[in-house]
């Protein structure tokens, strides 16, 4: 993250005229010297103008986000998740998540446009094997945890202290 969340909040408060006298001079001083803060200032104004401008045609953003989500590969979760079940979202939370999804979609589009690289269908040498089945929906491979642990132990570049010892995860010969 480029910038402290607090700094962005202060910037937002300043633009709303709600920043106190103590923090305002500090923020304005920061704006003079910090290019990131200047970009935030412009970004906030741009977003504000866009939200206010009712003349803009609908961007069909929801359908593009839905398509992007549809194209995302299914994520397999090794083992049991310790996460609590999701809480029902109130109106404010729903709006917040929608906003985040919209912004993330922009990031995805931006990244894809800016980066040359792997084609959509990576070149895969054929070895006579049939292609794997489509990514399995919600199926957990019982071996995944074991191989993840073995990789983290075996690769010098992986954070292996995060691997706990169990007879299943310690490789031996």
């Amino acid at each position: 993250m480029v910038m402290e969340d607090m700094e962005l909040e202060r910037l937002s408060a300043a633009m709303d005229g709600e920043l106190d006298d103590e923090n305002l001079p500090r923020l304005l001083g920061g704006c003079r010297h910090d290019p990131d803060l200047q970009q935030s200032w412009h970004a906030f104004h741009l977003i504000g103008e866009t939200l206010r401008d009712s003349r803009l045609p609908p961007a069909r953003l929801h359908s593009r986000i839905a398509q992007a989500l549809k194209d995302e590969p299914t994520v397999l979760v090794p083992g049991k998740s310790s996460m609590a079940p999701p809480l029902p979202l109130d109106g404010v939370s729903q709006r917040r998540w929608l906003a985040m999804a919209a912004a993330i979609a922009v990031v995805v589009l931006t990244t894809a446009l800016l980066r040359p690289g792997l084609p959509n269908n990576p070149v895969i040498a054929q070895n006579g094997q049939s292609a794997p089945a489509a990514i399995e929906n919600g199926v957990s491979d019982k071996d995944i945890q074991t191989f993840v642990a073995l990789h983290r132990q075996g690769s010098p570049l992986s954070e292996f202290q995060t691997v706990d010892y169990t007879p299943q995860t310690i490789a031996q010969r």
Binding site: D36, W97, V123
Partner: protein
């Protein structure tokens, strides 16, 4: 947030959850436009990051964060009489302790009374994530400085290693402006979402540090069972392997034969490939009549991708900190040739 006198605030309309996203957007724009450092500057920068982590004395607490999972460790590090010494104590979950000196890395599992001993290669332990030769990083990553941040109460310089292709992830380090010590390391996916983050929550220089502090805290460990790593390569493999879609820049750094009780049957041949910042493992084992349905997956809450399939009469598993398309391409492009007698 600030939309001027128009009467409504973006923060009020969209909620504060938009703040990190806006930061991310600005971050992405800024990084896209940031010019890579000249080669000489990049090498100098990487060298300073490496030396800071290896040569200075410091102690602190750092956190490994993967999605919603988080684990903290305490680290002490010093160079005493020319020898680099490290002790890491994992603070969450079951107790584990890692010590490293010039000869080996040891991981103590006190509950099980076992010690894992690694020799023959240098394990990357945060914040020592950059190793010689520094030129290896410049072949497949652009190095640029992308601004400042503050981590653990210290000002730090953000250094982006941006992958030149889509066969590896971007990495970002934030290095202390005074000491060049890496205070934060982030691995980003192809959409610039953070996959893994390591960061100090507090750190201090501690020069000179007593060697006593760097000794393992388990004095009774002489009787513990020792597991040596890497295990030896199989005496003779009955097959030859080849990866036709090996991503450029990745080379084999380890090969060993392993056995896990969780995967009964013949031992696996375990190959580890790295480009200096990321790695992936390939596991190969002859099938013994069992069948496998191919599976590919991105492992949630981590930078890891996974592929499992078969090639001829062998099971193949590829797992590593690379995009999912890459592990799939690796697995599907493997060839196994049985030796003829």
């Amino acid at each position: 947030m600030g939309t001027g006198k128009a009467g409504f605030s973006i923060l009020k309309v969209l909620g504060k959850g938009i703040i990190p996203v806006i930061g991310l957007l600005i971050s992405g724009v800024g990084q896209a436009g940031s010019e890579p450092e000249p080669v000489g500057e990049s090498l100098s920068l990487l060298s300073r990051l490496s030396h800071a982590a290896h040569d200075q004395s410091y102690r602190g607490t750092y956190v490994v964060q993967r999605g919603s999972e988080m684990e903290s460790s305490k680290i002490l590090h010093a160079r005493i009489h020319g020898e680099e010494l490290t002790r890491i104590e994992v603070l969450d979950g079951r107790p584990r302790e890692i010590t490293r000196d010039g000869k080996e890395t040891r991981c103590y599992y006190p509950v099980q009374h076992k010690i894992r001993i690694e020799k023959g290669y240098t394990r990357h332990l945060f914040p020592a994530l950059i190793e010689v030769p520094y030129e290896q990083y410049l072949r497949y990553y652009d190095v640029s400085q992308v601004g400042m941040n503050r981590v653990a109460g210290r000002e730090c310089r953000r250094i982006l290693l941006r992958a030149r292709d889509r066969q590896r992830f971007d990495h970002e380090f934030c290095a202390d402006v005074d000491t060049d010590l890496i205070l934060k390391a982030v691995t980003y996916d192809q959409h610039h979402e953070p996959l893994e983050t390591l960061l100090f929550t507090e750190v201090s220089e501690d020069d000179p540090m007593s060697a006593e502090l760097l000794k393992p805290t388990y004095p009774d460990s002489i009787q513990w069972k020792k597991v040596f790593f890497p295990p030896p390569v199989a005496d003779h493999l009955s097959y030859q392997w080849d990866i036709q879609a090996l991503p450029p820049g990745f080379s084999k750094i380890l090969q060993m034969s392993i056995q896990s009780t969780a995967v009964p049957g013949a031992p696996f041949e375990h190959l580890v490939f790295s480009d200096g910042l990321s790695s992936f493992s390939v596991f190969i084992r002859p099938l013994q009549g069992e069948g496998f349905r191919p599976v590919q997956a991105r492992i949630q809450s981590s930078a890891l991708s996974y592929y499992s399939g078969t090639v001829g009469q062998h099971r193949i598993v590829v797992v590593g900190e690379v995009p999912q398309e890459v592990v799939t391409a690796i697995g599907q492009s493997m060839t196994i040739t049985e030796e003829t007698h």
